[in-house]
Amino acid sequence: MLDKVWLVLLFPLLGFLLNGLFGWKFKRGLINLIACGSVGLSFLVSLGVFLDLLKLAPEARHFEKVLFPWVVSGSFKTAFSFLVDPLSALMILVVSGVAFLIHIYSTGYMHDDPGYVRYFSYLNLFTFSMLLLVLADNLLLMYIGWEAVGLCSYLLIGFWYEKKSAADAGKKAFIVNRIGDFGFALGIMLTFVIFGTVYFTPILERAPEVLQYGGAAATAITLLLFLGAVGKSAQIPLYVWLPDAMEGPTPVSALIHAATMVTAGIYMVARLSALFLMAPVSMLVVAIVGGVTALYAASIGLMQNDIKRVLAYSTISQLGYMFLACGVGAFGAGIFHLMTHAFFKALLFLCAGSVMHALAGELNIQKMGGLKKHMPVTYWTFLMGTLAIAGIPGFSGFFSKDEIIWKAFSSAQGHFLLWFLGAAGALMTAFYMFRLLFLTFHGKSRLTPELEKRAHESPNKMTVPLIILAVLAVIGGYVGIPHLLGGGNRIEKFLEPSFGQVSKAVETHHSGGVELLMMIISVLIALGGVYLAYTFYIKKTELPKKLAERYRSIYTLIYNKYYVDEIYNAVIVQPLKFFAIICWRFFDVIVIDGSANGLAKLVGLIGNLIRRFETGYVRNYALGFVVGVVIILGYFMLR
């Protein structure tokens, strides 16, 4: 099966081509079969690859497959070639699995959309791109997937292109991603200049000899690459595209947030762990960006009233956690969280989609409430997801998030402040998620009468994926039970070969007692968040308003997302536009064309003067001729 790993990519690509080129002729059933079937097959192949990999000894779990050469120029060589190791095997499993469920769900959700075929072909392309990104064994091939997921997000966010906001959001996503890609591309170039290759295996093997620990080269490479990750994974300061990405169909949001797009940055950093370990400064930057983003985005999430926006900010925040983990050297914990997050975030988004489906696209949670009785499956699955993301013990999010927060404190690169960022973020996470849950499903219904009548549970096509994801969201964490609780932390052990010497770098120097203490603290924090949300939104529903009145300025600041979009617009977008107009209207038209046309005018002017001498009388010309001859002869004679 390992040798057939390219089939993982082939199926979604074929699905895209078939539906994209001929889909307009196909019947619904065939479209569904192609779209879901291709991703399903891809998942099965991934599963086969994964199991085959498991059969090998841990050290031997490394397989490369070359298809055909790609860009070859002098000493620069790349190919369409794939790398299967524990990291990528796990990723393809998560990506294709979650994507498959989302495809199934979409057949219900997008049922009435006129762009049905287009939607599914894009979705297949999206899956293909992400799988390519994950399987690539060199940076440049990864870059294809990297940009292609950007493209797909552009296409899918702007799927309802007649809406200006959707088209704008798609464009914004692509452009902000491009800014990150700029860094990524430069990082690839620098890597090539220093290593002479862009293949992962030699780079990672030789990083310790080629690079100087903490040297400028290592720092520069990793920071440039990290810029790419910041763009793709929506971290400060390039996170602005993700909340707007809500304009796309909800399953797309699920796909972007859970499986196919934003996790790319984490994956890349984890993939290049050996490089990042050579650059402590970069590690610190990664950790700080991650930690600050985790807290910052969570704080925005507290105040949002749009169900999808809350989830979007929560994704940014959770991605921050993953970077925090990578930044302190706990790459395994980061990937673990990536996986559990994929389950519960896909679940939450699909639930949100289910709610929207029931309420004719209503997004404002202030206008919902009491939906529990109308849509029990959605409610219960949403609850599972909420418990998981809030970090309640026993659910998947607890294991992964706790691991990160603990590593932020305990690892060699960790620090108390990093721990604090994570812990404070965790409090807010629990609060805003339960706020969302309570406002949407509990309490009195605030629906309009028509919606009240309309509200219904979604069809099976949609609820079955929800249930599967809910199960995964609950049990997904049991592959990584920490040693402390008697587990073997199997996932980190499994990933270890991909990270090489990493585990030694983050060797903890704290005793089990401290770990237990910290775990209890983080559980208490999570429960505290839940309790606060309960007080605010179930028991004393008037309290939020009062607080908002009291701290008016802070409330407006956070409610308006710290005005970041507005600031970017005023500080970056407008001046650049102005500059562009100056270039064109002033420099091009006046300076360059002005001088060119001015030259032409000058010639015309001189001609106009000179032509006065042309009287048309031959005698005048002859006289001029004679005078000229006399002057020339005279000059030579009298000289």
Binding site: V72, E147, Y154, F182, F192, A580, A600
Partner: protein, 537 residues
Amino acid sequence: MNMGESFPILTVVTFLPALGIVLLLLVDKNRQLLVRNVALFTSLVTFLVSLFLYFKFDPGTGDMQFVELYSWIPSLGMGYHMGIDGISLFLVLLTTFLTPIAIWSSYNAVTEKVKGFMISILALETGMIGVFVSLDLFLFYVFWEAMLIPMYFIIGVWGGPRRIYAAVKFILFTMTGSLLMLVAILALYFVNQSYTGVATFNLLDYQGIQIPFNYQIWMFLAFALAFAIKVPMWPLHTWLPDAHVEAPTAGSVLLAAVLLKMGAYGFLRFCFPLFPEATIHFIPLFSILAIIGIIYGAFVALVQKDVKSLVAYSSVSHLGFVMLGLFALNMQSLEGSILQMLSHGISTGALFLLVGMLYERRHTRLISDFGGISKVMPVFAAFFMIVTLSSIGLPGTNGFVGEFLILLGTFRENWLYAAFGATGIILAAVYMLWMYQRVMFGKVDKPENQKLKDLSLREKLILVPIVIVIFLIGIYPSAFTSRMEASVAKLMETVNEKYRVEEVMPQVQPRRDFQIDESQLEVSTHSFGGGEIHRGQ
């Protein structure tokens, strides 16, 4: 060089279109369809014949292949010398590939004076191929100038409302450069004669001589001016938007796809091997101009109101990449530049085709007149999307490979140049996607747009080969780079070797009086008896 005896395939490829002109002259000008078909047929045959070049090309050598060398005006050393290497091969193919497409695209667009139009296009094709295959400077100059004439007519006769202004501007800008180039060619001729005693315009013969540095500078500048105007490099670019906006679609396509490449090609073929030290001397200047061009072109494109001038300014930006790559002078950057020339030809050509198709339907090119076109013309939207993506260099399409190799090569020489150049990639996404959004997305709010017809079969067939090539270059570029490799390596060797030799050797003192051979002058003036007058000092 022993292939001269075999089948003169380059001559055939070059003059097949001219043969088509002769055929066209025999056709009644009122039978428009026949006229069009004859022209299309000729160009298609030319393309098929030129494909042989690709398959027969020997990628193992950097020398000229398919060489034809005949004496033409032996007393002056002018020869009929043709040949191609891995650099010109693809430019010839690009020309022959796009000409039939351009002709086919004008079946509906050009309805007046069809015969004249087709003759102009075919004449243009002969001129363009001639430029790429000439290895004799005189022959090259003849083709270089001859090609301007049909282009002048294409813009000036079949163009838009301001066509005369645009055509004259085009001619004046280009001529200014070419005249200086002519002077430099003559200077080169005499320098060579003073060294070797042989009067020749043969390019390959020039490569052996060591031209003193201070001459190199001036000759380089004279050549470079001609080529830089053609490219066009900032700040000599303002003829381009005017010419593009006014030219008919087919003219824009060929102008963008091929004519602009001649500038870059000129640098590769003439400036670099002939004046290596001057080239190295001018690297910073030209790199910075190229970077300004990349960023400036992108910014100005951003605020254009006319789709065609937006695409024209995007050309300025893309050609900035090409120039940046050329002046980085290493394997990756040079191959990247050549690939980028092809890519730009393909994708910008396709953009002009698409804009032309819109124009045929709506008779406007203002961005603000459109909106929501995706809804009424979905097939068109899909093609437009693919071409847009290739233009912004999405990996997997042609645009990416060239741009990336250029930046990679530049990065190896100077990371700062590469970093500045790379901002062009971001800006490209901004202006192209913004344009795409305003034209294609949103609601159909103009009643005129509601009844637009989607692409006809002919239009689809025009675009399909382009899309195939877009992905071919994007996914399997080795098919192209493998054939360039030897030639590019040879070029680099020439530049570097000469440079190194010059570093070590003491400056050769040239003869002071190389310009005018005085003994000849005396002979020619004696018989009239007046020769002594000026010289009695």
